[in-house]
């Protein structure tokens, strides 16, 4: 019996564990090894160079430029995405007309709204990038956004969008927000639905308006979910590879204005064949990601409210 049990455990665990070890765990370990070599990809030619790649990285303006863009997005994208997500979720769940016997109601058709809002989540990022590339078409007459602005008399706002150095990164950030708000609407709606109704009812009966209710009741009770969502969205903002690669002028342009760390890494490795240096960038990305996650969880920690 015991013998059969262990044979079963090993038999079931070995195949998935083997695949995982070969394709995930071993690359993880090798990433650190390769980052300390000057490897150009030929078998057996890697030379150990210690921390040289990291020193080079530290002194590279290009790297700081790319890192700065990721950090800018990290500051902007999660904040806007989560704020909009919370706002829409609150509207869907509490913004409805008062119906009989219900003090707090959701708006009619909330299922439909959630269906539409969530849609970009299931669409490939390449498709989203091609769509927005067309929306941001710089031509004043032919560009989708520009011609729309022209039609409503806002010609002054027409722009070259992705071709405009000071705007390009924000254009790409906006696409990220656009694509992920729906995810948080659904997530926060589910979390709000688990808040007992009588808490709202008690607050409304005591004369609290809906907006104080949101800030004094809903938000504190959702704090755990908001925090997790923040980390998720931050990790997405630290990537942005596919959007930048497909949408930006000359990959990361104009003039480096949309360059991001993953794009640097990709080009350094697979265009320039500087694998050691690129691997060092990967390790740096890991450090930045971990630092962000730890800091968020450390500073956003509040006393958990049980209900």
């Amino acid at each position: 019996m015991q013998h059969g049990k262990y044979r079963f455990i090993v038999g079931f665990l070995a195949p998935p564990l083997l695949i995982y070890a070969v394709f995930v765990v071993s690359p993880f370990v090798q990433a650190f090894q390769i980052s300390m070599t000057d490897w150009s990809g030929l078998v057996g030619t890697a030379r150990f160079v210690g921390l040289d790649n990291f020193v080079r990285l530290w002194e590279s303006d290009e790297f700081w430029n790319a890192l700065w863009h990721n950090v800018s997005m990290l500051a902007f994208v999660p904040l806007v995405t989560l704020a909009l997500g919370l706002f829409f979720a609150f509207m869907l769940n509490v913004g409805g007309r008062r119906r009989k016997n219900e003090v707090v109601t959701g708006v009619a058709g909330s299922r439909f709204y959630k269906f539409v809002f969530f849609f970009p989540q299931v669409v490939s990022v390449t498709i989203i990038a091609v769509i927005w590339f067309n929306i941001y078409n710089p031509d004043p007459a032919d560009g989708m956004l520009n011609s729309l602005l022209g039609a409503v008399g806002l010609d002054g706002l027409q722009n070259a969008w992705l071709g405009e150095k000071s705007l390009a990164l924000w254009c790409i950030s906006a696409v990220m927000v656009w694509g992920h708000v729906g995810f948080y609407v659904v997530l926060f709606s589910a979390a709000m639905a688990s808040i007992p109704r009588d808490i709202y009812e008690a607050a409304l009966l005591d004369g609290a308006g809906r907006f104080p209710t949101f800030f004094r009741i809903t938000l504190p009770l959702l704090w755990d979910t908001v925090q997790t969502g923040w980390v998720y969205m931050g990790i997405i903002a630290l990537d942005a590879f596919a959007l930048v690669q497909i949408m930006s002028v000359n990959m990361g342009g104009p003039d480096g204005a949309t360059d991001v760390m993953p794009l640097r890494l990709y080009l350094t490795a697979f265009r320039d064949s500087q694998y050691g240096y690129a691997a060092a960038m990967g390790v740096a990305m890991l450090v930045v990601t971990m630092a962000f996650a730890v800091l968020t969880l450390r500073f956003a920690r509040r006393e958990r409210i049980e209900y």
């Binding site: 007309r97 009989k100 709204y113 969530f118 669409v123 498709i127 769509i131 997530l187 630290l238 497909i246």
Partner: protein, 311 residues
């Protein structure tokens, strides 16, 4: 005072009262319901606006798939005057979307099945058996959810290229194995939690009746885990169908391209001399399977994709 008492007991508990039920003070009721009315108009306005902002760009792909390149470029908002059905056949044949579609279907078909089988095997053992190292293996899998995949692509490229025997780059089985490996962390995490919620008595009864561990798993436990398998299966299908980074790095051979790569290549390559009509039709072709899955399984898709953040 008395009215307040009535309202309080009436509100949450009273189900059968009419619209003016209870003894609410009329002034406050009126003030609050008008607040609700204004808010209702306001909230619908904003929600409709966002729905348009999300929905119109996606619908734009659909109607552009029936326009010619010139129409898409010079009049992007215009509806098609003539339905250019040839965009679809151009996309399928000349832009090679047909081949990319078949490649994607083979890879994703293999990897979804593989992920489900291997993931639930590992999750079952980790959820239901105590043995030394159980926690270690579990956390090894779960840790895979937390670091950037970008960091791994360089070493992974060489693991694939220098694989003992034969290179795994630009092969179906190579890509399938990688997709499985990178889907395992979340699948194991999700299914372990799911298997823990299932009752133990049924499995025990099967064992007493003489079924082996393996047979109990496949004939008793897997059927019981069906709701969880559907959620995680949809999650993996969507993630793998839309995967871009891994094939970009590991599958750089045109006849093996998956849909996301093919679309990106067309979009990146020729810019404005492109056949935009065919590109739009190609995007529709790439989107169609996810669209069907999403329309049919809306609830499971939303629950599955947000499950990771709700833990």
């Amino acid at each position: 005072m008395a009215t307040d008492e009535i309202v309080k007991t009436d509100g949450p508990a009273g189900g059968a009262r009419g619209p003016h039920g209870g003894g609410r003070a009329p002034r406050r009721t009126g003030a609050r319901s008008s607040e609700g009315g204004v808010l209702n108009v306001f909230s619908h306005g904003i929600l409709v606006l966002w729905a348009l902002m999300v929905g119109v760009p996606l619908l734009w792909v659909l109607w552009s798939a029936f326009k010619d390149s010139n129409g898409i470029l010079t009049d992007p908002w215009g509806l098609p005057t003539v339905l250019h059905w040839e965009n679809w056949s151009n996309a399928w044949d000349e832009a090679n979307m047909g081949r990319y579609f078949v490649n994607t279907a083979i890879v994703v078909g293999g990897s979804v099945v593989g992920t489900m089988v291997l993931g639930s095997m590992a999750a079952y053992v980790l959820a239901r058996f105590t043995f030394p190292g159980n926690r270690l293996v579990y956390y090894l899998f779960v840790a895979g959810m937390s670091f950037p995949v970008f960091m791994l692509v360089i070493p992974l490229f060489f693991v694939m290229r220098d694989f003992p025997g034969t290179s795994l780059l630009a092969t179906y089985h190579g890509l399938i194995l990688v997709y499985i490996a990178y889907s395992l962390p979340f699948t194991v995490f999700f299914m372990t939690a799911f298997f823990r919620t299932l009752p133990t008595s049924v499995a025990e009864a099967a064992m007493i009746d003489g079924a082996s561990h393996t047979r109990t798993f496949f004939q008793v436990m897997l059927p019981m885990a069906k709701p969880g398998l559907i959620s995680i299966g949809i999650f993996n299908f969507l993630g793998q169908w839309n995967q871009y980074l891994l094939p970009m790095v590991l599958n750089q051979q045109e006849d093996k391209y998956v849909l996301t790569q093919g679309l990106a290549m067309i979009a990146l390559q020729q810019g404005y001399e492109n056949d935009w009509g065919a590109l739009m039709a190609g995007m529709m072709i790439a989107m169609l399977p996810v669209l069907v899955v999403y329309a049919v399984f809306q609830r499971q898709v939303q629950a599955g994709l947000t499950a990771g953040a709700l833990k």
